[in-house]
């Protein structure tokens, strides 16, 4: 009887996902200053890029990616997430990035099929 693959190929590897997210953020908003009119486009671009790279990994996962871009203005921001899933196979990764004018927080959740 064929065993399902287990190990690297079917687990959520945090480092790998974290790198994917960092690259997506750099390429979408790398050298830019906060601009209210462009933020929608930036968040969409970060999320789409992250998601397409994640699906290219070819793992049997469903993904959820969220991105929050916030202007540096002294205001506070808090995020929390609560998950009901299988601890052995599912995982998440959150990357906090900033430059002089804005913060960008991207969370990626991977749920094994």
């Amino acid at each position: 009887m064929d065993e399902f693959q287990s190990g690297e190929e079917t687990s959520f590897v945090v480092d790998e996902v974290s790198n994917i997210i960092k690259e997506a953020i750099e390429s979408a908003i790398g050298g830019n200053a906060y601009q209210h009119s462009k933020v929608n486009q930036w968040t969409t671009s970060v999320v789409e890029q992250t998601l397409s790279q994640l699906t290219k990994l070819g793992k049997p996962f469903k993904y959820i990616v969220t991105c929050v871009i916030m202007q540096k203005n002294g205001a506070g921001l808090h995020t929390a997430s609560s998950c009901f899933w299988d601890n052995t196979s599912d995982g998440n990764c959150t990357v906090r990035w900033e430059n002089k004018t804005m913060y960008c927080i991207v969370s990626a959740f991977g749920l094994a099929i």
Partner: protein, 124 residues
């Protein structure tokens, strides 16, 4: 000699989609989340010390309440974002592959807080 009787073939019983009665009701979930947010954020002001704990406990409460609703064979992810509303822009984009979500934004003009709650679920 007669031919052997055809054995009835076993039917597939593993369902890939939820039965109609168990189908996820997004309106019910929305009501539930709305009630929890109302209960917890009614008179709360933004406070840098207390808000992190509030965010965390809100997401736990919502997850536990939804678990208790009894959605069989569903995995779920609840995310709560609370930002201080100081007049600047907070943009949030959520995109997912092969999942369904419910998103609720709760804007408090009085207390200066913007709360965004997203709940994703996946059928196992």
């Amino acid at each position: 000699m007669g031919e052997p009787l055809d054995r009835p073939a076993p039917e597939n019983t593993y369902s890939l989609r939820p039965a109609f009665q168990h189908k996820f009701r997004s309106s019910a979930v929305k009501e539930c989340i709305h009630a929890i947010l109302k209960e917890n954020l009614a008179n709360v002001q933004y406070n840098p010390e207390e808000t992190p704990e509030l965010t965390r406990s809100l997401s736990e409460t919502i997850k536990d309440r939804l678990k208790a609703e009894g959605f069989h064979r569903y995995k779920m992810v609840v995310q709560v974002v609370i930002g201080e509303q100081r007049g600047e822009g907070v943009k949030c984009t959520v995109l997912m592959a092969l999942s369904q979500y419910i998103c609720l934004a709760w804007l408090h003009d009085v207390s200066g807080m913007l709360t965004l709650t997203t709940m994703h679920r996946m059928f196992l």
